[in-house]
C-alpha cells in the first residue's frame, strides 16, 4: 500500500461483506412482527405522549401558542413601561406650572390649595351624597359639617366624583 488510493480500494472491498438474500425477507417479516408486538405492548403513557406529540406537530394553533404568548407578554410589558414613563415625565411639568402660578398670584394659589384639600369623612359618619343615613351622636359636629359639605357638594371631592355620587 503506497497511497491513500490503495487504502480506499482496500476498504472498498468491505462492501462484499453482506448477508444472504433471504436475510432481507426475514428482516421484513420480523419488522412487521415487531410492529405488531409494539402495538400490543405499548403503555398508556407512551400512547398518550405519542398522540400529544403528533397533535402538537400537526396543530398550527398549538405551534403559535408559544410565540403568541411571548409577544403578548412583551406587548403588555412595553405598554406598562410606556404608561408609567409618561406619568413620570408629566408630574414635574404640573409641579412646575403650579409653582409658577403660585409665585404669580399668591392669594389665588392659597384658595386653590384649599380647593384641592381632601377632607375625608370619618368612618363612623355618613357617606357624603347618600341621604337617609343615621348620624353618629358622639361626633355630631363633625358629622354635621360633613353632611353639610356633602349636601353642598363642595370642597370634599373633585367635580367628577361629586357628580357620580349625586347620581347614586
Amino acid at each position: 500500500m503506497d497511497s491513500s488510493d490503495d487504502i480506499e480500494r482496500l476498504v472498498r472491498l468491505k462492501r462484499y461483506e453482506s448477508p444472504d438474500k433471504e436475510y432481507f425477507d426475514r428482516f421484513k417479516a420480523e419488522f412487521r412482527e415487531r410492529q405488531r408486538m409494539g402495538i400490543c405492548n405499548i403503555s398508556a403513557r407512551q400512547l398518550l405522549l405519542e398522540r400529544v406529540t403528533v397533535w402538537f406537530s400537526q396543530c398550527t394553533l398549538a405551534k403559535c401558542t408559544i410565540p403568541v404568548a411571548v409577544m403578548s407578554v412583551i406587548t403588555l410589558t412595553a405598554g406598562w413601561f410606556f404608561v408609567s414613563s409618561s406619568h413620570s415625565v408629566r408630574t414635574p411639568e404640573i409641579a412646575m406650572d403650579q409653582t409658577q402660578q403660585s409665585s404669580q398670584d399668591p392669594e389665588n394659589s392659597a384658595d386653590r390649595a384649599q380647593d384641592f384639600e381632601l377632607q375625608l369623612p370619618q368612618i363612623s359618619s355618613r357617606i357624603p351624597g347618600i341621604p337617609g343615613q343615621p348620624s353618629n351622636p358622639t361626633s355630631s359636629q363633625a358629622s354635621n359639617q360633613a353632611s353639610n359639605q356633602a349636601s353642598n357638594g363642595t370642597k370634599i371631592l373633585p367635580t367628577g366624583i361629586r357628580l357620580g355620587l349625586r347620581e347614586l
Binding site: 500500500m1 480506499e8 482496500l10 476498504v11 468491505k14 453482506s18 448477508p19 428482516f27 403528533v54
Partner: protein, 239 residues
Amino acid sequence: MEEEHLALTVMRGPDSGAGLPQSSLCPKDSVESDLLQAAEEESAGSLRKPDPDAHLVKRSLEGDTHAFDELVEKYTPRLYGLVYHMTSNREDTNDVLQEVFAKAYRSLRRFRGKSSFYTWIYSIATNMTLNFLKKRNRRRTMSLDDIDLAIEHDRDFIEITAKSDPVREAGLSELQLRLNEAMQKLSDNHRAVVTMFDIQAMPHAEIAKILKVSEGTVRSRLFYAHQQLQAWLGDLRTP
C-alpha cells in the same frame, strides 16, 4: 479547528462527485446507482428532482402499510451496509436496523419533504447507530457476515492481490478480519465517514448533509481516517 483548517488543504476540488469511487458501484444494484445519482444532483445544486419516494411516503401516511413495506424493502440493504460497517456485528446491526425503521414509521408524520426520504432515513440510521455505539462502548465483539464470492472477480481485488503478496497470502477471511479490526480502531465519526464515502460511495455533500457538518469537515475526517488506516494496515504494503 485543526480539522477545519486541514480540510482546506485536503480538498481535491469543488466536486461532490469527482472524487467519487465510481468503480465501487455494483452494476447490478440499480437502486443504489439511482440514489447516488439523485444525491449527486441534489448536492450539485442543480434543479432538484422530485423525491422518488414521495408517493410511497404519501401512501404510508394515508395508512397503507404495504407502501411502508416497500420503503423498508428498498432501503434495508443500503442501511444494513451503513450500520453493519459501523458496528462490525450482524446481530447488533439487525437490532439497530429494526429500531431505525420503527422510528422512521413513528416519525413519518414529521417528515416534511425538505430533503429526500432517502436522506431523512439515512440521517435517522446514522444518528441511531452513533448513539448505539456510544452505549456499547468497549464491548466490541465482531460478528461478521460472509464475504460474497463475487469479490474474486472485482477489478480492485485482482489488482491488489496481484500487487501485494501479503494480501494474497492473508486469504479472504484474514483480510476481512484485518479490515474490520482497523475500522473498529477508528473513532465513530471517522468510521461513519469512511463507511459512507469509501464503502457506500456517497458524495461529500450528501455525507455532510446527513452528518450535519460542512463538506470540509467530511474531507478532513476522511483524510485523517485514511492516514490512520494506512498506519494500521501498513504491513499489507507492497514490499
